[in-house]
Each structure stands twice: as structure tokens, then as C-alpha cells.
Amino acid sequence: MRVVQQMRNQWQQLYQALPDCLLKNIVSEIPSLLIINLFCTILVTYVMRNGSSLFENWVFSNAIGSCCYLLIRTSSYFLWRSAPPNMFVFYLLCILLAPIGYIIGSALGALIFSFPINKVLHFQSSFISAFVAMTSLVSVIAAWSFWKKIQIAELISTAEKEKARTASIERQAMQAQLQLLQAQIEPHMLFNTLANLQGLIAIDPERAQHMLAQLIVYLRATLSSSRAENICLKQEFTLIQAYLDLLAIRMGKRLRYTLHLPSELEQEKVPPMLLQPLVENAIKHGLEPKVEGGTISISASKQHDQLVLVVSDTGLGLAFNSQENNIIDTDHPHVGNANIRERLLALFGEQAKFSLQPNNPEGAVATITLPVLASNLSM
């Protein structure tokens, strides 16, 4: 048993070392070929009783079988390469090539035993009809089994390709989500908040507690809303409140804020990461860089069956992106805004609107108009 196991291992090693091509396929099919040839030998010797010895018949069977096999295999390789063969043409090929293989194989057998070739061929021709019929039959059976094998291999490779594709899609989706998250919780914001916490713990532990609680609310809400498809306005406002509270502690008297969400709109669904980035932009570009700071107001309202979300600030304003007095092309506003427009277009088509305008007397107003989501109507 061990010897068999060893031989098998050696065989497998040898097989794996072969280049992945026609040769490898042929090697893999040798065992089935030998079995078929043995079957023919027995058939010829004991059923057809042609009068020759078992050994002679075995050699002839192998010669004929191998010839037929090689003829069919190589010609199908040159016809179709690795593509799946046309079944009808393939069978026709088998029937045509079998007699040729029969003759060449017989001649080969004669050469091995040093029999005169013409005598052997003459002897063989008396059995020709039976032999041809049998060779054809065998060829067809063999062909059919190879055919199945090819089909199975093909199915496996398709399945593997599909699997790889799904994996890559999943990876991409995960990466996108991660990026979204990273964009949300800016390291700069996180470290600045932590620095404030560090300071507060020493000078005002109670406020430090409050700040930590707000940071937790902010982080938790950000994490959960970045995974959700839709979130309700109440959740979004909680997130914004926590964010602004953190910033109000950090910026001190420089930041004032108001939030206005009518209670009947609390359950309205909106896509996540839509309002929050506008608030962040207003802080980052409007209020934080302004020496005297200012006020930010966020409100939601319903007008003509549309949801209107407004973020207004009294910060530095659009400065170089406003319609007049500008030197910079208005076609290239903030990158973040382009993202918001794209997302709205993808989600709602023409039904949603986004605008960014100068506030009076200073600052900026960002407005998003959304259709009320279908899921809300049923509620």
C-alpha cells in the first residue's frame, strides 16, 4: 500500500511540474486510455476470438487506441484550442479519424512484432468492419467522457471567476465605507477634541465629563449612520447637536448655534452624511477661520411636500465663489459641494436641489430640497 502511495505522490509531483497545456491534459487522460485499451484487448481476444494471443492483442489494442486518441486529441486542440468544442463536429471527427488511427495503429503493432506490414493489414482488413465499428464506438465513448471533463472544468473556472468578482466587489464596498468613515471623523477634529478633554480634566472635571459624553454620542451616531441607508432627521440632528456642542466647548465664545427641528418632522427619513458635511463645511470654511467667530443655524421644514434643510452661518462667507467680485471660476466650487450634488442626483435625480448662497449681511446659506421619501408616506 505504501509503495502505491509513494508512486502516486511521485506521479502527482511530476504532473504538477508539467506546464499547463495540451501535454498536461494528455497526461491526465492516460489512465482512462489504458483502461479502455485493456477492455478492447479482452473483447477482441475472448469475444471476437481473432486467434491471436492475449499479449499480441494487448499491444495492438494499445497501438490502435493511442493512435486514435492522439489523432482526435491533437486535431481537436488545433481546431478549438482551449475553447469548448462543437459537439457534432467533434463526434464526426471521431468517426472519421478512427479508421485512420486503426490503420496506423495496426502498422505500428506490426512494426513492434516485426510482422510484414502488408500481411498484417490484409489480415486486419478481414475484420475491418467489426474493428471499425468497435473503434468508433470506443472513440465516441472516450470522446464523450473527455467532453464531460472539459465541461466540468469550465463550470469550475466560471464559478471561481464569479467568486473572485464578488470578493472584489465586497472589498470595494468596504473600502468605500471606510473612506466615508474617515472623511467623517477627521483625525484633526478627533485629536483637537482629545486635547481639549485632556485640558478640561485638570481644570473642570465636570465639563470634561460632559464633553466626553458628547464625544461618545458623536462617535456612535457617526458610526451607525455611516452604515445606514436612511436615517431619521431626529438622529441626524442629535449627531449635529453633539458635534456642535464639542465645537462650542473648543471654540468658546466664538461659536453660537441654533437647531430647529419641528417635532412632526422628527421621523422623516434622509440619506445619512448629507446635512452633517454642510455643517462641517460652515464651521471649517466660515466660522473657524473668522477671528470674531459667529453663529450657525440648522433648520428643517416642509414646503409643498418637499423637505427643506437649511444650514446658514455668519462666517467668512463664500468670498471667492460668489457671483460678483470674483476672480475664480464659479464652475469649480468646493469639492465637498460637488460630492453633495452628485449624491443628490444619484439618489433623487432631478427632484432634489442643492444651493449655496451668500448670507445677508455675511456668511453663507446652504439649502437642500428633497422629495419626501416614499417610506415616510406610509407612516
Partner: protein, 281 residues
């Protein structure tokens, strides 16, 4: 003699809690240090520094008004030459790019949240510096070397171009060909090659051509990336000149460089940070 041993520091930090925290830490690590001015933005930082003339500056990088780097640059231009230039410690929140930049030009910096250990190391280094300074009282060389060091650092930082936000990097690299300036109800179109120089004021930029000057609402920080930098050279924190309009650079006895222009009688002064641009080849 005694006066020289009291070392004065300025803290510029816009977030009040962080400012208090830094004050407390400094009080603990270096009780002799006199915190002469505590300010909340870049503009106040420059004013306070020029009136108090402190020995150490703690500059937050991201501040309203002016960034820490802009404050350093302005001080390098305005600092009275008979006084030693202060030691600068930049304070910044997590920002990989900034940290890398500071490492490259060997500037002192501490990260927020501030680690006491790190701050202590910086304090030790500063103390050594001041001890060495009081020992070598023939101070003629000392003030020069420190300001030269800061100028070299700023030059390097300018080349790396510290981004204030991620958007700055991805901002349009498209170059302007025409400046649109509002004049009353009209828009004046100025071909970029006609501009002799740009001069930044508080909220505006003055665009000077041979015929007239017009105001646009922008800042050099926003304008610079949109200019062809082989043609338009920054020569001062508030001046960008069209180099083809420069007739000659004049260097006076104190080493100050002034530019004479072809089509304007205005004279532009070049700050020390950009003086290397006008060395002979």
C-alpha cells in the same frame, strides 16, 4: 543683567481650553518663564509679539486671522534688527503632513494633545539655548543666527507648501489667463500678462497694471496656486510680482533688496525670506 535672565513667552492659541492647558503645563515645567502675552488669533499674535518682543513664541498652526507660519513669516520681516529673534515652538493637532514638514526643516513643534514629556524636552532645549546666549554676551552674532535659521525653515516650509486642509492640494491647478475685477457696476477684464504686480491688503488684492489699479476680493493664498509661478514670483508676504516687469533689483547697505519696475514708478521691497531669488547667478 538681571533683566536678561527673565525669559518672556507668547502663547497664540485660538481654543481657550488648550491655551489654559499650555499655560498650566509651562507654569509647572518652567516656573521662571514669564507668560507675557496670551492671544487668540494670528493678527493679535503679530501685534503682541512686536510690542512685547518675547523670547519664546508658542504658535498654534491653525488659527483664525493668520496661521502660525504666517505669523512667523511676518515677524521675520518686521522684527527689529537689534533684538534677538525669538525661539519658535509650533503647536499643531494631528496632521501627518505638517509633522513631516517640521521634521524636515528641524523646527520645534509639539503635538496636541500635548504630552508633558515632549514639552519638557523642548523646554530643556530652549533653556540650554538661553543659557548659551547669556554666556556669550557679545550678542552681535546671536540675533542674526537665530533669524537666519527661522528664515531657512520658512523657506523650506514654503517649498513643501503646508496645506491648511486637504482641499488645498486638490484645488484647481488651472492657471488664470484673465483677472475679472469689479469696477462699480462693470467688470474689468485684465489679461494676466498685463499685471505688473499684486499687492494684498486686509481683504483685497490690489491688481496693478501700467494704466490702472483695481481691487479684487481674494487672498494671495487663494490666488497663488492659480498663477504661473515661473512668471509670477512672491517677493514679500503681501506682494507677487510679474518678473518680466522688473527692471532691476537694488541692494542697499543693510542688505535690503528693492525692485525697480519697467512700467511703474512704484518700488517693491523684497523680504528676507525671498532675498535668495535675487542673488546673481
Amino acid at each position: 543683567m538681571n533683566k536678561a535672565t527673565t525669559i518672556k513667552a507668547l502663547i497664540a492659541e485660538d481654543e481657550p481650553i488648550l491655551s489654559i492647558t499650555l499655560q498650566r503645563m509651562l507654569g509647572k515645567l518652567w516656573p521662571e518663564l514669564e507668560l507675557s502675552s496670551i492671544v487668540e488669533n494670528g493678527i493679535e499674535a503679530v501685534q503682541a509679539a512686536l510690542s512685547e518682543l518675547p523670547d519664546v513664541l508658542f504658535l498654534d498652526i491653525k488659527m483664525p486671522g493668520k496661521t502660525g507660519l504666517e505669523v512667523a513669516q511676518e515677524l521675520a520681516e518686521e522684527w527689529p534688527s537689534q533684538r534677538p529673534f525669538p525661539m519658535i515652538v509650533y503647536v499643531t493637532a494631528y496632521d501627518e503632513f505638517a509633522v513631516q514638514a517640521f521634521e524636515t526643516c528641524a523646527a520645534d513643534y509639539v503635538l496636541k494633545p500635548i504630552s508633558e514629556e515632549r514639552l519638557n524636552k523642548t523646554m530643556k532645549r530652549l533653556q540650554e539655548h538661553f543659557q548659551a546666549r547669556t554666556k556669550t554676551q557679545n550678542d552681535n552674532q546671536q540675533p542674526e543666527t537665530e533669524i537666519e535659521r527661522v528664515i531657512a525653515q520658512l523657506r523650506q516650509l514654503h517649498q513643501i507648501q503646508l496645506p491648511n486642509s486637504a482641499e488645498n492640494i486638490s484645488q484647481t491647478t488651472e492657471k488664470l489667463s484673465v483677472i475679472r475685477a469689479a469696477v462699480g457696476n462693470n467688470i474689468r477684464l485684465i489679461p494676466i500678462e498685463d499685471v505688473i504686480y499684486f499687492e494684498a491688503t486686509d481683504k483685497y488684492i490690489n491688481v496693478v497694471t501700467a494704466e490702472h489699479s483695481s481691487l479684487i476680493r481674494s487672498s494671495l493664498r487663494d490666488l497663488l496656486p492659480q498663477l504661473d509661478n515661473s512668471l509670477f514670483w512672491q517677493i514679500h508676504r503681501s506682494t507677487v510680482v510679474n518678473i518680466k516687469q522688473v527692471q532691476m533689483a537694488h541692494k542697499d547697505d543693510t542688505g535690503k533688496i528693492t525692485l525697480k519696475l519697467k512700467h511703474s514708478d512704484d518700488k517693491l521691497s523684497v523680504s528676507r525670506i525671498y532675498a535668495h531669488l535675487f542673488k546673481q547667478m
